[in-house]
């Protein structure tokens, strides 16, 4: 009999939490269409009086943000490609190929996860400086080449491939590489998409390393450029909101499209030994 009341309570709570959660994003979009100075009036407006594209136009025309959009896209795409290239073969080999020291090496890799990546930043910067790679895309891509997490993700998934399939391929005379490309890769497709989505989002949203290694505006990614810009334009709220929308929108859309794969990676990635 208490059912209807309870149902109402649960759903009201859910609506409240959901609206509160989405509110900052809603306001970001709304303020990005306000006229300069409009957001800094009292009481704070929720919607623009007269929506305008002026902030976006200013970002593209005057601040040349198209360059940073391209940088972000390029770096994220390359990071994704590199990550697939390095992690798929390794993850598969750790799961299915037999070689001496395999399990010891894998355990060592997992052990390396306790060391936070920031420890490497100072020497890495000096290394890249010696190689002349500071302020280059290559410098920003270095941390994405191979990752223990990526290898782990692929390995966990590859473990589910039945050995018989591989044996059958080998019996047909296929070499290890052919087995990998013809038989394994198609089976790994779901995790391949997962890894790609995670890497793309991760590198797009990455902040600290690009901030350090990309100091020139021409090579900066969107988040870094936005952070720098927002220090110089403290009072230009509406302009900054437009910048935030441009930064957030691509990843949000990508997530909505490939949500299933993303969630899968999240669950595999966190349920680890």
């Amino acid at each position: 009999m208490r059912r209807p009341v309870e149902t109402l309570g649960v759903n009201l709570a859910l609506w409240a939490v959901g609206l509160l959660t989405l509110f900052p994003l809603f306001w970001m979009v709304s303020a990005s269409f306000m006229a300069p100075g409009e957001a800094s009036t009292f009481p704070p407006p929720m919607l623009p009086r007269a929506a305008t594209w002026a902030n976006y136009r200013l970002l593209f025309a005057e601040h040349g943000i198209v360059r940073q959009v391209a940088n972000s896209l390029l770096i994220s795409l390359l990071a994704t490609a590199l990550s697939l290239l390095f992690n798929l073969t390794a993850g598969y080999a750790f799961a299915k190929l037999r070689f001496r020291g395999r399990d010891r090496v894998f355990r060592l890799l997992l052990g390396a996860l306790v060391v936070p990546a920031q420890v490497t930043m100072m020497p890495l910067f000096l290394m890249l400086k010696e190689m002349g790679l500071v302020n280059s895309y290559a410098g920003a891509l270095v941390p994405w080449l191979a990752s223990v997490f990526g290898i782990y993700l692929v390995r966990q998934y590859a473990l589910t491939i039945p050995d018989e399939l591989l044996e059958a391929a080998r019996m047909d005379g296929a070499g290890e590489w052919t087995t990998f490309t013809r038989v394994v890769l198609p089976l790994l497709k779901p995790i391949l998409v997962t890894l790609a989505v995670l890497t793309f989002l991760g590198s797009w949203n990455d902040f600290m390393w690009p901030l350090i290694v990309l100091t020139e505006r021409e090579v900066q990614t969107l988040p870094v450029a936005l952070a720098v810009l927002s220090r110089e334009h403290v009072q230009d709220v509406e302009l900054m909101m437009a910048g935030a929308v441009i930064t957030v929108l691509p990843v949000l859309l990508l997530f909505l499209l490939l949500q299933r794969y993303y969630m899968q990676g999240l669950l595999v990635g966190s349920v680890k030994g």
Binding site: G132, V134, N135, S136, Y137, R217, E232, V234, Q235
Partner: protein
């Protein structure tokens, strides 16, 4: 130690990029890259306009100006040095020169100055000397600057004073009177907690050395700093100054216009900003005055910016030509008209606009009473610590009694490397 030449390194990086991205091919092969010039704040805004004449005189030569905000400029210059991404020419605050010279980032200019016949006698001596480091000239002064008092004549008159203050006592009386009139919500003076320049200017008035033993140790425990500290903190104790940073003020001009404060210590670029940003009805009610000192008119910081050439530049000939252009008296006058900055060349001061500008008068007078900050590379960092400790004292985080000792400890620690380097050099 074998190091590849910068050119070779650059080339290999480009090549790598080209290979990795396949995008650089068109953009990077260009030979006629523009000259890269970094300038700060308002100077950065007008630089491109100022250089139109230079580009017209040098067909085919383009200048790309990058405008750096003042608050980020120092960091950006060091970062550029660390990342081998320095521009061809930059505006460098003359307190930053020692640092860049110690890093061997700058090109000594003696030969080029002589070759161009640049008349150094036309420059203010005290300012020129800030460019002379390790016996060589590392920059050409672009404009001179010092800090003076900006104040609201109308609010001061309402409080019963017709002229600006000449010494600290008089200043204090005025601030108390203003505060009585404006009440709880408003203040008498703005000394933003994220600026160290006002504090340093007041300290320089004491005649102390800011660092002792030839820039080897801090001198915060000296009597001069003590007096400055007491005066400075009394402004917050008596609620004459709001305990805020620029972040919280957001728009200094608006707040000055609203009478949130009546006194403000700032530099000549602010003349132009106030003229542009204060509403017309307020234009007659603000003025500048030399800094009041502990006893009579006081000293202020010998500041300003120089134009410096970077060692890594591959276009030094063209870069120098640009520096020469910007140093011409006629261009210096134009620069004044665009920014309100006082040109470094005295021959540019006879510009009718400059000679007649009542707001510039205080700066001309103050410039006869300027002192440089210590010419050590670590100064910026020591001054930043000074700012931090001041903020914490004002906010009550650390007791004021221990401030001087704390600052000396920090300064001595920062200067440890310098002491070692100096000793090593002495041993050789």
């Amino acid at each position: 130690m074998s190091r590849r030449s910068p050119a070779a390194r650059r080339w290999s990086r480009r090549q790598f990029l080209g290979g990795a991205a396949g995008l650089c091919a068109a953009a990077c092969a260009r030979r006629d890259e523009p000259l890269r010039f970094w300038a700060m704040g308002r100077e950065g805004e007008v630089a491109q306009k100022l250089l139109a004449g230079f580009e017209a005189e040098n067909p085919g030569l383009r200048v790309k100006v990058e405008q750096l905000p003042w608050t980020a400029a120092h960091e950006k210059l060091l970062t550029a040095f660390a990342g081998d991404a320095t521009p061809d020419v930059a505006q460098v605050g003359n307190t930053w020169l020692p640092e860049l010279v110690a890093l061997e980032a700058l090109e000594p200019l003696d030969d080029r100055v002589r070759g161009a016949g640049l008349d150094l006698a036309d420059y203010e001596r005290g300012i020129l000397e800030t460019n002379l480091l390790e016996g060589r000239q590392h920059g050409v002064p672009w404009y001179v600057d010092t800090r003076v008092l900006f104040y609201r004549q109308d609010l001061l008159a309402e409080a019963g004073f017709a002229a600006p203050p000449r010494d600290w006592d008089e200043w204090t009386r005025m601030m108390l009177a203003v505060k009585r009139r404006v009440g709880q919500e408003r203040y008498a003076v703005l000394l933003p907690l994220n600026e160290f320049e006002p504090m340093v200017a007041l300290w320089l008035q004491q005649g102390d050395e800011l660092l002792r033993d030839g820039g080897r140790r801090g001198n915060f425990r000296g009597p001069g700093f003590r007096r400055t500290l007491d005066f400075y903190l009394s402004l917050y104790d008596r609620k004459l100054a709001p305990p805020v940073t620029h972040n919280e003020i957001a728009n200094v001009w608006n707040e000055f216009g609203r009478g949130y404060f009546s006194f403000y210590i700032s530099g000549p670029w602010q003349i132009g900003e106030f003229k542009r940003r204060l509403p017309p009805e307020l234009q007659g009610s603000w003025m500048t005055a030399p800094l009041p000192g502990p006893a009579g008119p006081g000293a202020s910081i010998a500041g300003g910016s120089s134009l410096a050439l970077f060692r890594r530049s591959r276009r030094k000939v063209e870069a120098w030509r640009m520096v020469e252009y910007l140093s011409r008296p006629a261009v210096q006058r134009e620069f004044y008209r665009l920014t309100g900055n006082l040109p470094a060349r005295r021959s540019a001061w006879d510009d009718p606009g400059l000679a007649a500008d009542p707001h510039a008068r205080a700066f001309r007078e103050q410039l006869t009473r300027v002192r440089p900050v210590p010419q050590v590379p670590e100064w910026e960092r020591i001054a930043t610590d000074l700012r931090l400790v001041m903020e914490k004292v004002v906010r009550g985080d650390i007791p004021r009694e221990s401030a001087a000792e704390d600052l000396d400890r920090r300064a001595d620690r920062i200067l440890e490397k310098r002491r070692w380097l100096l000793d090593r050099r002495a041993r050789r």
